[in-house]
C-alpha cells in the first residue's frame, strides 16, 4: 500500500505570538516550528498501516526551505521518502491553492491513500484535504478515527457529533482527514534520525507540476488580524436570591455560553 501523508509545519503551540506590522498575520521572527498536531496522527496512522500491510509511506510538505525539518522528522519516525513542494509561487496560498498543489503532486506520484490532518493549528480551515480530494476526483472522508483495509477498499471510522461515530466502507484510492489523539504517537529514535539522512527528499516546483499561476491565485484574503480584546464588564443582578440564581443561570447559559 502506498500512502502519502501531508504534513504542515506550524508555529509551536507555546510560541509567543506577535502580529506583523501590516496586521495581516503573525511575525515569523523568533518562532520555532513543529508538525501540525493532527498531521502527526495522520503520519502515525500511515506508519501503523504500513507495519500491518507493508508498502510505502511518503511524507509531503509544502513551504519554504524550513519545512524540510518536518519531512526529516517524518523520515526519522519511519517514513520512507519525502516530497517537498517548494516554489515562491507557493508562498501565501489559501486552502484552495494548497489543495491544488497537493493534488498535482500526489496525482503525479500516484497513491492508494492520501492522509492529511483534519485541520491546521495555525489557519484552521479544515479544507485542504477535501479540496485536494475533489480536484483529484477521489472519495474522501473527514475527521477519521480509524482506518482498516478490506477486500473492497477501506473501512473507516469517522467522528460524528456528541460522541457518536460511524463506520463507512469506501473504495481506494481515497483521501482521509485524520482526527488528533486517535493513536499513540511514536518518538523518533536517534538511530531513525541517523537513518533519515540517507532517505530521498524530492523537491518539486510549480512548473514541474504543470501548475499555472492563475490556479493558485488566492480566493480568500486576510484583511486584518488582531488579538482578542480583553474587557471587564460587571453586571449587578438584583432581586431575591431565587431570582438572582435564575437570572444567573440564564446569563451563563445564553450569554456566556459556559454550559
Amino acid at each position: 500500500m502506498k500512502i502519502i501523508v501531508c504534513l504542515k509545519q506550524v508555529p509551536k503551540n507555546d510560541s509567543v505570538l506577535r502580529i506583523n506590522e501590516q496586521g495581516t498575520w503573525i511575525q515569523d521572527r523568533d518562532l520555532t516550528y513543529e508538525i501540525n498536531e493532527s498531521d502527526a496522527y495522520g503520519l502515525e496512522a500511515a506508519l501503523q498501516l504500513k507495519e500491518k500491510h507493508g508498502g510505502e509511506v511518503i511524507a509531503l510538505s509544502l513551504g519554504p526551505a524550513r519545512v524540510q525539518s518536518v519531512i526529516k522528522e517524518a523520515l526519522a519516525r519511519g517514513a520512507d521518502r519525502g516530497i517537498h513542494l517548494e516554489d515562491t509561487a507557493f508562498d501565501n496560498l489559501d486552502a484552495y491553492g494548497i489543495g491544488t498543489a497537493i493534488a498535482a503532486a500526489t496525482k503525479a506520484e500516484g497513491f492508494d491513500l492520501l492522509l492529511t490532518g483534519l485541520q491546521s493549528d495555525d489557519y484552521g480551515f479544515a479544507q485542504t484535504g477535501v479540496i485536494a480530494a475533489e480536484l483529484l476526483g477521489l472519495p474522501h472522508t473527514t475527521i477519521v478515527m480509524d482506518v482498516e483495509l478490506n477486500d473492497a477498499g477501506l473501512r473507516v471510522k469517522r467522528e460524528l457529533e456528541n460522541g457518536f461515530f460511524q463506520w463507512v466502507n469506501m473504495p481506494a484510492p481515497a483521501v482521509l482527514t485524520i482526527q488528533s489523539g486517535i493513536n499513540t504517537l511514536r518518538y523518533a529514535t536517534l538511530k531513525g534520525i541517523m537513518a533519515a539522512k540517507k532517505k530521498e527528499i524530492k523537491k518539486l516546483d510549480a512548473a514541474t507540476l504543470g501548475i499555472d499561476a492563475a490556479s493558485l491565485a488566492p480566493r480568500m484574503e486576510f484583511r486584518r488580524i488582531y488579538l482578542p480584546q480583553k474587557n471587564k464588564q460587571t453586571q449587578f443582578i438584583e432581586g431575591s436570591a431565587g431570582d438572582i440564581a435564575a437570572k444567573l443561570i440564564d446569563k451563563l447559559k445564553n450569554e456566556a455560553r459556559v454550559f
Binding site: 509567543v16 523568533d30 525539518s69 522528522e73 518518538y187 523518533a188 529514535t189 536517534l190 534520525i193 541517523m194
Partner: protein
C-alpha cells in the same frame, strides 16, 4: 556527522598563551540540524514521559525510574557514547552533551540517567576488554542493565586513592573477594552493575565490574538536600565474590580509570548546569511578568530586571564556554582512532584544564541563577509548591560532586604548570617587567574590541600569576591552596571572557551587529565586572608572593577601565527577555 569541520585542533590549556579567532571555535550556534533533532527526541521524552511521572519519581518509586530508563534506551538515549560495534551510536560529544542538557529538565532523573551513561558505562567502553564490552555494553545501551560508579568511601572522598576497600584473590585464583564500603552511590538502590574501585592486596588500586549478584548490597536511601528523586545509597561489599575476568583495566591502574572518566563528566555537567540555569531563568521571566505588586508586574522594577539580565549573562557566557570546549574535544577526537581507547582518553585528557574550568564556572553560575530565582519568586520561592525551591536545592550538589570546586581550583593552575604552561612559562623569564610594560590601561568603550583588550590584560595577569606562584613557592605550591585558587580564578575568568568574545564575534559575523545587540551588551557587562573580579584576585595574590610591589603595580593597571553604564545595559537585556517571554540565545 559533527559540524566542527571548520574548527581547528588546538592544544589543551593553550588558550592562556595563544590568541583565538572566532572562526576557530565551536559555538552553540554551530549545533547541526541533526544534533537538534537528537535533542528534540530527548526533550519530548522528558516532557511527555518523565515530567508527567514526577510524583512517583520523587516518591522514590524506583521501578518507575527503571521503566523510564528502559524507555530512554528504546529511543537510543543511553547508547550515544557507546561505539557502534557494541550496540551504540558512537556519536560526537556535542550530541552527547546537547542531549544531556535536555535531561536537565528534571535534575533528579538526569542524575540517574547521567550516572548510568557516563560514569557507569564509560569505564567499560574505555577500559573493558572485548569480552567485557560484548557482555555488558549492549545491555547497558538498551537500559536492560543499569550501572553505578563506586569510588567514594566514608573516609575517601576527594582523596579517592585513600580507599580502604580491599580485593583479595581466592586460593583457587578464580575470584577476588571484595570487602569494604562505598558511599554516595548514585543509582545505588537499583543498579545491576557497579564499577567498584578496590585495592588488590590492600595496595594496588584497581577497578572491577561487579554484578549485584556477586554480593553487592545497597544501604538505605540517603536523605539528601536535593536530587531527591534520584537513588543515593551506600554499597556494602562483604566478601563480594567477583570473577577475575571482571578486573577492569590493569591491576594497580584503577586511578587511570577513575580520573579519566571524570574529565568528560565535568564537561557534560557544564551543559546540564547551563541547561538548568536557563530553565530557572525562564521561570523567573514568566513569574516576574505575572506577579503584580504596587500595581504593576514586578518585571517592570529595576532590581528584578537586574536579576533577569544577570541570569541571562551567566547563561550566555556559560554556553560559550561549554560548547567551545565540546567543539575542541570533538575536533581532537576526529583525529584519533575511535577504537583506540587510550588515544581517545588522551585526546580528552589534554583538555582537563578546560573541563575543570567549565565545571567550576557553570556550577557557580547555576548557584547564582537558582538563588536569584528564589528571590524573584519572593515568599513563593521559599515554598515547595513552586519550582524555584527544588531547583535551588538540586543545584547545590554541582559544586561538590564530580570533583569539588576546591579540588578543581587546585587542579587548574597545577595542570597548566605541568602541561601546556611548562614551556610557555619558561619564556616568561623575559617576564615581569616586560609584562608590566605591555599592560596598558585602556580607555574608551567600543564593545567587542574593548573586551578583546581587556582579555589581553586578563591573560597577561593570569600568566604573571602563574609565574609568580612558581617563583615564590616552587615545589611547595601544594601547601599554598589559597594563592593557587586565586590564580585559578583569574585563569577561569580569562577563559570565560575569551569564550564570550568569540561567541559574540561569531554571532555578529553571521547575523550582523544589529541583530546581536543583546549578546554584545551581555558581553560588555560581563567583561566589565569580570575585570574587577580579576583585579581583586590579582591584588590578593600580589600580597602573597615575592616581588609584591612590582606585581601590585602590574595588577593595578588592569583594574581601571572607562566606566560603562551597566544599569542601562542590564535594562536593555532584561527588556528583551521580558518582551520575548524567554531566553532565546
Amino acid at each position: 556527522m559533527s559540524e566542527t569541520g571548520k574548527v581547528s585542533v588546538v592544544k589543551g590549556g593553550m588558550f592562556l598563551f595563544e590568541g583565538r579567532k572566532s572562526e576557530d571555535v565551536f559555538t552553540r550556534e554551530d549545533i547541526s540540524e541533526e544534533q537538534q533533532m537528537f535533542a528534540g527526541v530527548a526533550e519530548e521524552f522528558m516532557q511527555k514521559e518523565v515530567m508527567t511521572r514526577s510524583e512517583q519519581i520523587y516518591a522514590k518509586d524506583w521501578p518507575v525510574t527503571r521503566e523510564l530508563l528502559l524507555k530512554a534506551g528504546e529511543l537510543d538515549l543511553l547508547r550515544i557514547d557507546i561505539p557502534e560495534q557494541f550496540g551504540g551510536l558512537g556519536l560526537d560529544k556535542v550530541s552527547s552533551a546537547f542531549v544531556g542538557e535536555q535531561i536537565a529538565l528534571m535534575p533528579s532523573f538526569g542524575a540517574s540517567l547521567g550516572a548510568h551513561t557516563t560514569i557507569g558505562t564509560l569505564p567499560i567502553v574505555y577500559f573493558g576488554n572485548d569480552e567485557q564490552r560484548a557482555k555488558y555494553l549492549p545491555r547497558l545501551a538498551s537500559g536492560e542493565l543499569i550501572a553505578a560508579f563506586c569510588l567514594t568511601e566514608p573516609s575517601a572522598g576527594s582523596d579517592a586513592l585513600n580507599a580502604k576497600t580491599k580485593a583479595t584473590l581466592t586460593p583457587d585464583g578464580k575470584h577476588y573477594l571484595l570487602k569494604g564500603q562505598k558511599m554516595w552511590i548514585t543509582n545505588g538502590g537499583f543498579a545491576d552493575i557497579f564499577i567498584v574501585f578496590a585495592k588488590v592486596d590492600g595496595e594496588k588500586f584497581t577497578a572491577f565490574i561487579v554484578e549485584r549478584d556477586h554480593g553487592a548490597v545497597s544501604g538505605h536511601e540517603e536523605k539528601k538536600l536535593g536530587l531527591d528523586g534520584s537513588s543515593t545509597t551506600a554499597v556494602m561489599l562483604e566478601d563480594c565474590k567477583v570473577p577475575v575476568e571482571n578486573v577492569l583495566g590493569e591491576i594497580g591502574k584503577g586511578h587511570v580509570v577513575a580520573f579519566n572518566i571524570l574529565n568528560f563528566g565535568r564537561l557534560k555537567l557544564g551543559s546540564r548546569n547551563i541547561g538548568g540555569a536557563k530553565i530557572s531563568l525562564n521561570n523567573s521571566i514568566a513569574y516576574s511578568k505575572e506577579r503584580h505588586q504596587f500595581g504593576r508586574a514586578i518585571a517592570n522594577f529595576g532590581l528584578i530586571k537586574r536579576k533577569l539580565a544577570e541570569m541571562a549573562i551567566r547563561c550566555f557566557v556559560g554556553d560559550a564556554m561549554v560548547w567551545r570546549t565540546l567543539g575542541m574535544v570533538d575536533k581532537a577526537l576526529e583525529n584519533v582512532d575511535s577504537n583506540d581507547s587510550m588515544q581517545v582518553l588522551k585526546a580528552i585528557e589534554q583538555y582537563a584544564v578546560e573541563c575543570s574550568i567549565v565545571k567550576v564556572w557553570t556550577s557557580e553560575a547555576l548557584a547564582t541563577v537558582t538563588d536569584e530565582t528564589v528571590q524573584v519568586y519572593g515568599g513563593y520561592g521559599y515554598s515547595k509548591d513552586y519550582p524555584a525551591e527544588r531547583a535551588y536545592r538540586d543545584a547545590r550538589i554541582t559544586r561538590i560532586y564530580e570533583g569539588t570546586n576546591e579540588i578543581q581550583r587546585i587542579l587548574i593552575p597545577t595542570r597548566l604548570l605541568k602541561g601546556a604552561g611548562k614551556d610557555q612559562l619558561q619564556n616568561l623569564s623575559e617576564s615581569i617587567s616586560d609584562i608590566i610594560d605591555r599592560t596598558r590601561i585602556y580607555f574608551g568603550d567600543e564593545g567587542v574590541p574593548t573586551a578583546r583588550r581587556t582579555l589581553k590584560s586578563v591573560k597577561e595577569t593570569a600568566r604573571l600569576a602563574l609565574s609568580s606562584l612558581v617563583e615564590s613557592h616552587g615545589d611547595k605550591l601544594s601547601e599554598e591552596q589559597e594563592a593557587v585558587a586565586l590564580a585559578a580564578d583569574i585563569i577561569i575568568e580569562a577563559y570565560a571572557i575569551e569564550s564570550a568574545i568569540l561567541r559574540v564575534e561569531k554571532l555578529v559575523s553571521a547575523k550582523g551587529a544589529d541583530a546581536c545587540r543583546i549578546p554584545t551588551e551581555m558581553l560588555r557587562v560581563y567583561v566589565n565586572d569580570a575585570a574587577d573580579r580579576v583585579a581583586i584576585s590579582a591584588r590578593n595574590l600580589a600580597g602573597a608572593v615575592k616581588e609584591s610591589a612590582k606585581l601590585m603595580q602590574a595588577f593595578e593597571r588592569l583594574a581601571p577601565q572607562t566606566p560603562i553604564n551597566t544599569i542601562e545595559s542590564r535594562r536593555l537585556i532584561a527588556d528583551s527577555l521580558i518582551e520575548s517571554g524567554r531566553y532565546l540565545w
